[in-house]
Symmetry: C2
Subunit: 464 residues, 2 copies
């Protein structure tokens, strides 16, 4: 049987959720990390945590606090969640090796941490488009994605109701929400990249910051001089944000305004404790283009920007590919960790082959597991609809599950304390034919149970 339990911290308003699995053989219940959220957001202790810091003149950002030696309630929460000491959490954040994305305007959050010393995390993308989806449907996708284990959700909405959709998502999300603000900025200029300006972009990020967005993808590393490097690729520039900025740079023959205004961007992010997700606008879009000079040139620039953000006490993670064959995966992590000074790496897959559209959750789960084993901190999921269409509810679930598998396989390979206890409990239940325990311990109890019942439906068979 699964039930939700809460573990209290040093103060009564720190209540950390777990999914506790009771076992029929009477052995100690297994506690699993739980991202499903409270359901109803009627009690928001983080309002007080943020207010307290303001009152006492503490730094605004978690990075600022960590550097000042402060263990925030958010850090303590995360430590309980991960089964580590609050000091480790603080020290990893202070060193820039981990981020705790939590906008001061997002009190609904259940704090979590992204860094290689911690459990590997999974992001799920959702969002409306011009052709499909409504607000309620996106909130439903958010709830659905976190039910299956998404640790953060990116709202990639485009189309007419961006602000309203995001507001609904923020107010119903216990996980950090990320966005790519250039998408909304582009809507404001009717889709013409050449009409984009720093002012419109700045207005957009402030609008989103006020709503509580926790991290934002910023393609500030797409420099004018890198764009021609993508010309001879098999698949050119495939990142949407990357191609918007590349088009702008080329047409105006000017440097990327996100790069030239990066210091001001840091000042805004610092006020809200927004975490940078430095976008890889020149990520490869195919096996053929992996690890090329366009990609790695941009990555080096992201390293420079990381240092600038850190000077402003702003937290940073760095985005990575994409499409990479297995033998070129490790190089991505090694180089990113080197040139970005161990800032957390956040990768999209990578897909390890291009031959299987409709199965890219699998082609990329292979790459995701490997890249996480080598030190990537968060994995952006890929659904079966990648390259083909917009993910529906089933696709979201398939993507999240495939990525929870990849993340946990990496936790095991990295020897994360406690990770293997989950596998061992399930394996033991399997060996002893404790079917109900096996189902309850499964990543997806419903499907495991239904597959079993198809062949052997009788209750007796389950305890045999």
């Amino acid at each position: 049987m699964r039930r939700k339990v809460y573990v209290s911290g040093s103060r009564p308003d720190i209540q950390v959720p777990f999914a506790e699995v009771g076992l029929t053989d009477g052995s100690t219940p297994v506690r699993l990390y739980d991202t499903s959220g409270p359901g109803v957001f009627d009690h928001l202790p983080r309002v007080d945590w943020v207010a307290d810091r303001r009152l006492h003149g503490a730094p605004v950002t978690q990075l600022g606090c960590a550097r000042a030696g402060i263990i925030t309630p958010e850090m303590e929460y995360v430590a309980l969640r991960e089964g580590v000491t609050p000091e480790l959490v603080r020290d990893e954040i202070a060193a820039g090796r981990a981020v705790l994305p939590a906008n001061v305007n997002h009190p609904e959050i259940e704090p979590m941490i992204i860094g290689k010393a911690f459990l590997v995390k999974v992001n799920a993308n959702i969002g409306t488009s011009a052709v499909t989806s409504d607000v309620a449907e996106e909130v439903e996708k958010l709830t659905w994605a976190t039910r299956w284990g998404a640790d953060t959700v990116m709202d990639l909405s485009t189309g007419p109701r961006i602000h309203e959709t995001r507001e609904a998502i923020m107010r119903n999300s216990a996980v950090p929400i990320g966005t790519v603000p250039i998408y909304q900025a582009l809507e404001k200029v009717k889709g013409d990249p050449l009409k984009l300006t720093w002012e419109i972009y700045r207005e957009t990020i402030i609008e989103q910051a006020e709503q509580g967005v926790d991290y934002m993808t910023v393609h500030a590393g797409v420099l004018l001089r890198y764009v021609p490097l993508a010309a001879d690729r098999v698949t050119g520039i495939v990142s949407r944000g990357g191609s918007i900025m590349a088009a702008w740079c080329l047409a105006k023959h000017r440097e990327n305004f996100l790069y030239t205004n990066f210091e001001e961007l840091c000042e805004i992010f610092a006020r809200y404790d927004i975490t940078f997700s430095l976008g890889d606008g020149l990520r490869p879009g195919s096996i053929a283009d992996a690890n090329d000079e366009a990609q790695f040139g941009e990555l080096r620039t992201l390293g420079e920007l990381t240092e600038i953000a850190w000077r402003h006490d702003v937290q940073v993670m760095v985005e990575g590919p994409g499409h990479v064959p297995m033998h070129k995966i490790k190089e991505n992590v090694d180089l990113q960790q080197e040139v970005c000074h161990e800032a957390p790496f956040y990768t999209l897959g990578p897909l390890t082959t291009d031959i299987a559209p409709a199965y890219d959750h699998i082609t990329s789960a292979i790459g995701a597991a490997m890249i996480a084993m080598y030190g990537t901190a968060m994995l952006c999921y890929v659904t079966p609809k990648e390259h083909l269409g917009l993910p529906d509810r089933n696709d979201v679930k398939a993507g999240v599950i495939a990525y929870k598998i990849a993340a946990h396989a990496a936790d095991l390979a990295k020897g994360h304390p406690g990770a293997q206890a989950w596998d061992d409990a399930l394996s033991k239940a399997r060996f002893e034919f404790r079917w109900e325990d096996q189902f309850d311990l499964s990543l997806d109890p419903e499907t495991a149970r239904s597959y079993h019942d198809e062949t052997l439906p009788a209750p007796a068979a389950k305890t045999a």
Copy 2:
């Protein structure tokens, strides 16, 4: 558009199938390896190939021929199929680094090769059980599995109609068929392992050899002294063949009769050119048990048996796990290659975590891709029903596709000549919005097309 084409060898009866994908931009069609078989088996040139060798007193086995410097028609066929020289094929077989499983009594076969110098292969398991399935259904599963790319199929039938099922499978199979003869031997003694004898087993393998079985799993490495090593495991002995032999050894306190009669087994295999698949009866059944002394002790014995088989000119591959966390995968290949003198490794997955029943095609595709990158020659698929029930048609397809992805990802990582051309053609089609080309080049064109059409059904959208 996809169509089947045949490439001729040095003699007109060598006709090697490919799936040729024509492209709408007029570029050179892409030829893909094709396992789908001829459909109707009305023309069997291999009858003559085998008869010719007999007539000229050539060695019976491909290993014998290769060692004598002979390039058989089967070897030439394989060379054309793989895009390599016939000499490479011969030399890899002669060295024991590759096997060409082809029983002299299986003329329906389209020859293929299993070895680390060649494309990574995928096996699919099918078979009737006491409770479900009929003969026609198994033949249908065979056809279905090879349609999606299974390179060999293992018939693991149990229950009342084993012989008849196998006969139907053999006569309708263009891929090598493997079996685990101990399953049928056990049926002959009404399921009581203690009634098993060498004589019953020998009679069973001769029966199967006469039908044309191309390779057989033999658990000859489960030695009496290894069995106690599994006692303290989380999941004991999970291989069915392994536990049958372990029960026999323990109850009689005698050495495994497959080990003590191994020379005679080799003599029988040599007469038909049956390939050994030396079973890993002590493979780990959970993450906790990976790479333990029971497993590796047996592996060393399989190395000794490999040398004995080779003295009889009998081809050998060696089976491997199972359940292995990512950081322990490479050690499996390295040790197997060392102690088994580079005989091809043939692994079941491995699953990289135990927490996801119903998704073990994914947990294991991760491990399969990695173990193949490190040098495993053939991957035994795992379906979503693993540990839960018997795979149906959809499960077979899901398992084969996941494993074709793993195998191809490994081909890319190993730099197999020509492997990346497939990815590049698809990526280019994707970048140029040649939707029909993208679908036709997909591992599963139907599903890719249907996913796309869900969101953007208009034909215009496909050429946009």
